[in-house]
Amino acid sequence: MNQETENILNINKSAEFSITRFLRILIHIFWYFSIFAAALFVILLTLKESGGFESGNVKFSVPIIWKVKVHEESGDHLLRFVDDGGKSFSFYEIRGYGNARVNFDGKMDKLVYLNYASVVVLFGIVFFGLFQLRKLFDRLAEGRYFEEINALRIRRLAYCFFAVVALSFIFVLIFNGMYSIEKGSAISYGGNIEMDGIRIGISPIFFAGLCLLTLAEVFREGAKLKSEQDLTI
């Protein structure tokens, strides 16, 4: 690279505003917010094993938001559905689709641990992906676009997406079996998985993962071209 082009690049680097820099700041904010949220989750979880803790009229708990679909009545059951105010729903009231905050009444048993474990695993994957994204944008903001490591990070991001889809599907299968709500129920983390009959569509997350894989290939080819360009004297 001769002096002239280096000068031009430096001028571009010192530009006051660029989309990449803006996105980088956004991702940094999101990253620290996620750490805060995770810390809050852990604190709430450890403060009280089961439903949460009470302070005056307000009840704190660790709600896990799921889409719940219940078709048929069932008798005694582990699940109790609680709204924001702490009021219970019976099964009959939330018939059909809807977002429900699932809270666990009474003792904390193995099932509940598995629930939290699933959330922690999914959270971990999201964290890993966010970390990759943060590092990627750090590099992009420096003006280093086509490098092998960038392609690798995008590919890792794609694998995160695939892992989220696969694990969600597995958790859905497990919890569906364990909750043993009557036939026709479904608990879904997103995507198009439905256990009522069987309907599995292409989840948008999976599709996004495929797009990212393609992008990673483009970046890898770009890195190859750049190295060739740099080694042309």
């Binding site: 001769n2 190295s227 060739e228 080694l231 042309t232 004297i233």
Partner: protein
């Protein structure tokens, strides 16, 4: 790549130092070093022209084709 760069031999013959040549040819020392050690993947005609002008030689004095086996032996040395 079985193209050998004989830049060092030519520089020895003409008694030119690397920094001096870089100055005269107008490319950076790092790039000339890449060329000299044989890490370069391609050479621009303009660079080749400047090198030949400053070293008063032909392109064939700078570049040489060797067979793959021979090249491996050279790079092992």
């Amino acid at each position: 790549m079985p193209i050998k760069v004989n830049l060092d031999r030519m520089m020895l013959e003409r008694q030119v130092k690397l920094t001096e040549l870089a100055d005269r040819v107008g490319i950076t020392l790092a790039n000339l070093s890449i060329l000299k050690t044989g890490k370069a993947k391609a050479v621009r005609f303009s660079t080749l022209e400047a090198l030949c002008r400053e070293l008063r030689c032909q392109p064939s004095d700078l570049l040489e084709y060797v067979s793959d086996d021979e090249f491996e032996e050279i790079s092992l040395l």
